[in-house]
């Protein structure tokens, strides 16, 4: 579904992505893992066309995304930090997004809005919201249009345990609906029951792309947390 070929991106002297080639297929649930600054968010932003790669290309359903924009109708994106226009109310943000994506929506999925209790504070302005509530708005927006691909950048960071659980259940239910899910997170225990594939990035390079099962077998560990810790140690002290 998504194929990235030799994607490179530098910010000044820093090489954020170094020849990354990846294939993501429908029905997979992929975790992007790596230390801070390893290029996870940059890669996600490249997929969304928010960051333009220096060279290499990315295809979505066999179409190059470079000069395309319509493909984003199939993607729900939850950014790392929810940044929204300050003086809009929650309801206005939702209405605006519905208005803009009207043609592409195949039935709205407003489960998360009610599950998070956002429907009770719809008239609050975005600038008055706490970081966690903004995250909830971001998550609700990502799921709102029933997209085939969900891209979640640190979805559970900043959420309280109850909300975090609600979001995880939502992700799992979408996974069972056969959607492609891409997640980055540092909270590995959260990823354990969600993920089927692991992509490990370090200093902008793709270290490996394996199924969870394979990774566990290769490292001889039972838990994802331990397996990744094993990999990180190996990479630090080879």
């Amino acid at each position: 579904m998504i194929i990235a070929t030799n994607v490179n991106k530098s910010f000044g002297r820093l090489k954020a992505l170094d020849n990354v080639s990846l294939t993501c297929n429908k029905g997979q649930s992929i975790s992007l893992i790596g230390p801070n600054g390893s290029g996870k968010t940059t890669f996600i932003k490249c997929l969304l066309g928010m960051v333009v790669p220096d060279n290499g290309f990315i295809t979505f359903n066999n179409k190059n995304i470079a000069h395309d924009w319509a493909y984003r109708a199939h993607i729900g994106y939850m950014p790392q930090t929810g940044r929204f226009p300050d003086n809009m109310r929650i309801a206005q943000v939702f209405d605006m997004m519905k208005d803009i994506r009207k043609d592409s929506a195949t039935g709205l999925d407003e489960d998360l809005i009610t599950a998070f209790g956002l429907d009770k504070i719809l008239d609050k302005r975005m600038r008055t919201l706490s970081g966690g509530t903004r995250q909830k708005v971001g998550a609700s927006l990502a799921f709102l249009f029933n997209p085939n691909v969900l891209i979640l950048d640190e979805p559970t960071a900043g959420l309280d345990p109850v909300s975090s659980e609600i979001l995880k259940e939502k992700i799992i239910s979408q996974k069972q609906n056969g959607k492609l899910i891409l997640i980055t997170s540092h909270i590995l225990s959260d990823l354990e029951d969600i993920t089927t594939e692991i992509i490990y990035l370090q200093e902008g390079k793709l270290k490996f792309h394996k199924s969870l099962q394979q990774l566990k077998e290769d490292t001889g560990e039972e838990k994802l947390t331990r397996a990744i810790a094993h990999v990180m140690k190996l990479n630090l002290h080879p």
């Binding site: 932003k45 226009p85 803009i100 592409s104």
Partner: protein, 255 residues
Amino acid sequence: MKKIIKYVVLDILRNRIVLAYTLFLLVISLSVFNLEDNAAKGLLSLLNIILIIVPLISIIFSTIYVYNSTEFIELLVSQPVKRTGLLLSIFTGLAVSLLLAFLVGAGLPILIYSASAAGFMMIAVGLALTLVFVSLAVLASVITRDKAKGIGVSILLWFYFSLIYDGIILFILFQFSDYPMEKVTIGFSSLNPIDLGRIMILLKLDIAAMMGYTGAVFKDFFGGFWGILYALLVMLLWVLIPVWLTVRKFNRKDL
């Protein structure tokens, strides 16, 4: 694109600065026309105020607005929206609100007190300058990532066009005063939209006779239909070139 323009215009109306700008223009125009007994004199006083204020407010407000909509832009680029369309919508939204403000604030009083050829020319110039400086503002705010720097660039641009440029021209004209510079000054005037606007209005006010031989050359060149068409075309280029550069830059920008 229409939807995004709607949201931009609504947002601008909500923050009331444009409303204050409209009232400000209205108060100034009405008081100028009421102070002078002669409408042409009033127009002349208004000319200088408009040539300073309209570009200043247009460029500063637009620059700050674009920076303040960073979140809005970030939110929308991850959605199925064309980047070019998004940028043009923001430009159009800004332009529409500021054009309306000028029409109500200065256009109405001019039409009431001095609906002459000069009055209409002044409205046209005011509208054109609004567009030019909104497009320069959008350019300045897209090429510089830092907000303070972007606003600084905008202020400098305004400063350049309203003061520094005239100084440079005067200097050149004095240095080359032994040579026939009249034709060249027409070329110079095209390089500064504010100067071009001033010339177009002055020619309609019939005080070009006081500007000596250069004034006669201007009258000869800009006075006729082709002159006005030329001025219009130059103004249009002053809008289109910055917008084109901005779109090009914005399409490759990392957000």
